[in-house]
Amino acid sequence: MTTRSIRARLLLGGGLAILLALVLAGAGLNWLFQRHIERREVQSLEAKALELLPALRLDAVGRPLADAQPTDGRFARPASGLYWQASTSAGLIRSSSLWDQQLPVPRAVAGTNWRLRRVDGPFGHRLFVIARAIRPDASGRVVVVQFATDDDASAATMHEFRREAALALLLLWLLLMGAAAVQIALGLAPLRRVQAQLQALRRNSGARLSTDHPREVAPLVDAINALADARAADLERARHRAADLAHSLKTPLAAMAAQSRRARAEGAPQAAAAMDSTIAMAGAALEAELARARGALARDAGVGPTELLPVAEAVIAVLERTERGGRLVFTVEVPAALSLPVATAELTELLGALLENAARHARRAVRIRAGEADDTLVLQIDDDGPGMAEPDMARALQRGRRLDEAGPGHGLGLAIVTDLVEASGGALTLAQADQGGLRVLIRWSHRHDAGYRPRQ
């Protein structure tokens, strides 16, 4: 079987097996019913024959004679469908219903038991015939007695029976197929549940499949959970490696900066300047690589959901400690239960980069709003700074650029942000804020369905 669907496979197999069983059952029923009808015919004909047999005798030349004839009126009516005939090699007598026709005489009628057969009889009918030999006198000469009845009626009965039986068996087949479909659906239900939970796992790498699955599915579920654990551990290791790499490279860079300061102090300002620019380049390249690694990790880690409000407050608490952030008002208009489809570490990174950027340009205030409308989650960050011209907005979204290339800061600004947003299936746009500053809008559409909702 080449089909890839277990359901189709089971249905096809079950359907064929049931069909085979029903065909065999139909054949058996047909055979039994036919035998039953034949037996009744034989009994009926035998009863009529008993009226003739005692009355049979032979004349001198060996022709059969009958002293009395069977009483059934149909023997007297020509072509009535009920016939008899007694024959010897010398001659024959027959019922009037045969008229001028005769029944073919079987070549060898051995015993005295009735033997039955079907023959094409007179008047274009198919006949059901019983025949036996009797010896009416002591001479030992044999008379072949045959009684026949029209087979058409029983053939019609058989035909009707077959049709009705076939119909009944077909209905039975449909019923059994329905039952098989229900059973297959019940049998596959645990797999569907596994599939639904896998969807949840794909959205949220922290989720695991539940452990209350049937015994047959449990090993699969355990294997998937083990795989997810291993993957989470790998990701965690990768995250740590990225952090370790940062530490192990940045500390030597800081040491080099110390050397450069010493060089400048000892009267080699050109060498010091060259070193400084090299250090800056190495640092920028390192940051870019780390940002890319973080974006890739975010893509692998799956998506949140993470409650927005506590993360936003934590990031703002950091910014409020800084010189610039301390002079700003951060307005947070975020529903307490709202979650975004981003893992906690990535959401922290995302908000950090966006809010730091907003704080860098804001004059007095930065406003964070988030909500859900028309099946879309929207995060909006406004500042009241100088804002940005349309062409600059388009340029700012290009890969590797910062919103403010000249400003201080170690992040890659929007490059990190767009990486993280894309990894979580969102879309980022820039617009003008109500107060004239820059507005960053991030939208997550509900195509990710309910996965970002906080679990109860």
């Binding site: 940062a246 990031v315 906690t344 950090g352 170690h410």
Partner: protein
């Protein structure tokens, strides 16, 4: 001005020590977390520069140890990781500012001076107005002895009102004092500031007098 420098990398540490010395600080340089924890607990420093990646006891644990022990000197955290998760953890552990490596020496000195300026100049450590208590050295507020972390702006707003408890201060006067200058757009900013502040310390602790401004109820009323 004694500054505790905690940095395990010799070249960076030597450079930092020299630069801080040039800037006029008295530097004590330790390379080990356990020693830093001990010194911070027992000596009085004007500030500390703390590297988070330390052998022995890591920087975050050192910092938490100081804060749990009630040490309130400002701490500037140095970190090789530039990610926000670590910044958040660092601030929550009690850091006052952070700087990612590699950093410009001039910026470090400026930030450190900024931190020390915030602390200096306040002779009286606390001001109490009703249920509200302001800690002028750590720039934080206590409401019924519950600690609330404030931004510099929020703290200055409260400080302005605290000079005249029970009496309203006009919005433009507040804007002038906390921003240095004031223009018509600042009214919205102050309003947003009050909204945020009320969420942190409780709405009844900052009252609005329509047309007059804001006031801190002095508790006697």
């Amino acid at each position: 001005m004694r500054v505790l420098l905690v940095e395990d990398e010799p070249a960076v540490g030597a450079d930092l020590a020299a630069a801080l010395g040039d800037a006029g600080f008295v530097v004590e340089w330790v390379r080990d977390g356990a020693e830093a924890a001990f010194l911070g607990d027992t000596e009085d420093y004007a500030a500390a520069v703390l590297d988070l990646g330390l052998p022995g006891l890591d920087g975050l644990s050192v910092l938490r140890g100081w804060r749990e022990g009630g040490r309130s000197f400002p701490v500037l955290v140095l970190t090789a990781r530039a990610d926000w998760t670590e910044k958040v953890i660092g601030i929550e552990a009690g850091a006052d500012d952070y700087l990612a490596k590699p950093f410009a020496m001039g910026e470090l000195i400026a930030r450190l001076r900024g931190l020390m300026r915030r602390v200096a100049g306040h002779l009286s450590a606390t001001v109490t107005i009703g249920r509200l208590r302001l800690d002028t050295t750590r720039m934080c507020a206590f409401v019924d002895d519950r600690s609330v972390r404030l931004s510099a702006l929020e703290y200055r707003f409260l400080e302005v009102l605290a000079h005249q408890p029970g009496r309203p201060v006009a919005v433009h006067a507040i804007a002038e004092q906390i921003y240095g200058t004031a223009d018509s757009g600042d009214t919205n900013a102050i309003e947003a500031l009050v909204t945020r502040l009320r969420r942190k310390i409780g709405s009844e602790l900052v009252e609005t007098r329509r047309g007059l401004g804001y006031l801190l109820p002095d508790g006697s009323a």
